[in-house]
Symmetry: C2
Subunit: 315 residues, 2 copies
């Protein structure tokens, strides 16, 4: 009964058996015969000097010792296989998995996917749209695009993608009804809750203050995601205070217009993030270059804007 680790193949056999609660299913998972698995379990039990399974004739069940071992063993192998996948991603030069928020994925990444595929036919892009912050070593993700304030973190490569600013946007039809900022007093406003936690805030009250108008609060529809608010604005449902990054596609196609010349700038920005070293992999370099190239198009939209920083009009 040594304190050192038992044979690892036997441990893995036990893990599979405990997960399936069946030796034969475990054997199938590991591509060995049931006999081999039976031997592995037996060898592990000899190392422990105690049974791990109680053999009932039609089934097996864990002993106390087995119940003590099973969860930790499962955790261990899960960690090992995640680590191995992370190492494999490092080697693989043909795929790149990007995680971004739902709005950025829908309004920015997805429409440009075709262009990237054309420029880099050898690279397969994969998206994982979630607001959850990813752990690069545990989740199967290479790089992330996150919206937030600049922040240096140990072991992470980070780069600004977009200088963000916001201004009221609406469908051309609505722009005729509300030609001046003051007309917004009677316009339906669309709100987003997904940026509500940022301070200084860049919401409708902040923009009204920047425009020198009385703020309007708590009226209009709330959207949990920015892309849905934009879609509602395109459909003529109201006026949205949108990030230029997300709106660029709809502006270019003429589905949205920016009738007023007052914009709110913010330190919050879309940033590219990946573990240190990953930025040197060829497909990541290609993706970074693509991001820079594509974001240059944004600079044209701010030509005749008057910019007011969100911090200056903080409540």
């Amino acid at each position: 009964m040594s304190d050192r680790l038992p044979p690892l193949t036997a441990l893995r056999a036990f893990d599979a058996a405990a997960r399936h609660m069946s030796f034969s299913k475990a054997a199938a998972e590991l591509n060995v015969t049931p006999a081999a698995l039976s031997f592995q379990i037996k060898s592990l039990e000899e190392h422990l000097e105690a049974p791990l399974f109680r053999r009932l004739n039609r089934a097996v069940e864990l002993t106390d010792a087995g119940r003590a071992l099973a969860p930790g063993a499962a955790d261990g192998f899960t960690a090992l296989s995640a680590a191995w996948r992370a190492a494999r991603r490092t080697v693989d030069q043909t795929t790149l998995t990007v995680t971004a928020g739902p709005a950025f994925t829908a309004k920015w990444l997805a429409p440009r996917l075709f262009t990237f595929a054309e420029q880099h036919p050898g690279i397969e892009l994969r998206f994982s749209a979630t607001l959850r912050l990813m752990d690069f070593t545990r989740d199967d993700v290479d790089v992330a695009i996150r919206f937030g304030f600049p922040r240096e973190e140990e072991g992470l490569f980070s780069r600004k993608i977009i200088d963000e600013w916001l201004t009221p946007m609406m469908s051309p039809a609505l722009a005729e009804q509300y030609p001046t900022p003051a007309d917004l007093a009677r316009a339906p406003l669309l709100h987003q809750v997904d940026t509500a936690m940022f301070k200084p805030s860049f919401d409708w009250p902040a923009w009204f203050r920047a425009a020198g108008l009385p703020p309007r609060f708590a009226s209009g529809t709330q959207f949990s995601q920015a892309d849905h608010a934009l879609d509602a604005a395109v459909a003529g449902g109201g006026v949205v205070l949108a990030r230029i990054s997300l709106a660029e596609g709809d502006l270019r196609e003429g589905r949205l217009v920016m009738p007023y010349k007052i914009a709110l700038t913010t330190q919050a920005q879309y940033r590219f993030v990946c573990p240190d070293g990953v930025e040197n992999r060829p497909q990541v370099k290609a993706f970074l270059g693509f991001l820079e190239e594509q974001t240059q198009a944004l600079s044209g939209y701010g030509q005749d804007m008057t910019f007011v920083d969100a911090a200056e009009v903080a409540d």
Copy 2:
């Protein structure tokens, strides 16, 4: 470059090499020759189809792939070895590791250790005194004694040890100076912060309310641990509102007395906790029996007390 796990012995060799940043030290740790370890690393690199180490002539350093693999591999093997130790503890009938708070360890467990050792010479008791809540599957602990409100939790066996109550205690000399509860108005009070988060609270204000006296707040010395407050009281430093469980030893030896007959009862109690199934192991049964036997002595101390529940005098 398969997505399945590589040979586990090779992974373990890599883990050791990455931790030591040296093949020969890793070989020594695993009790194999450096040549064997070199082969294991090489085999792992062939599975990955990429180098994991950069061989400098006097040293090795991790490649990007190695840096991606190392932390997760370390986590995995840590989890596996913790799980194995947990299983081994299940089998071992000669040792029992108990975790408890510092006060209970000092004032209750440690003084009774000798008695337990006499009754059960075959069992080696180990203590781990910490306020941190333990994870039975990860930390090397069999059973825990925790102070708190009764709470059922999935997968945990739990049993009340002591019906707790509190009353002012002090050295016999001080008791002569402060013969009645009203005299406490001019006595130095000792406070404990470690029970401050319990609601309904059982602190000095609660006791004063139970005694029908005007409460005194925020005067006297604060102790972070209950055993230190008791020691201060023994030394004549003041009056402590102490848990009967912790004070029993000092009461029995006459170092502390309870001059007033008003006590505060609370639903908070010392509880024995262990993972389901562990309560059936022989040394755990022995320890549980010992706890029950030893706590019976406490019932004698409440004979002529008037009990007021903390909930009735909650602020």
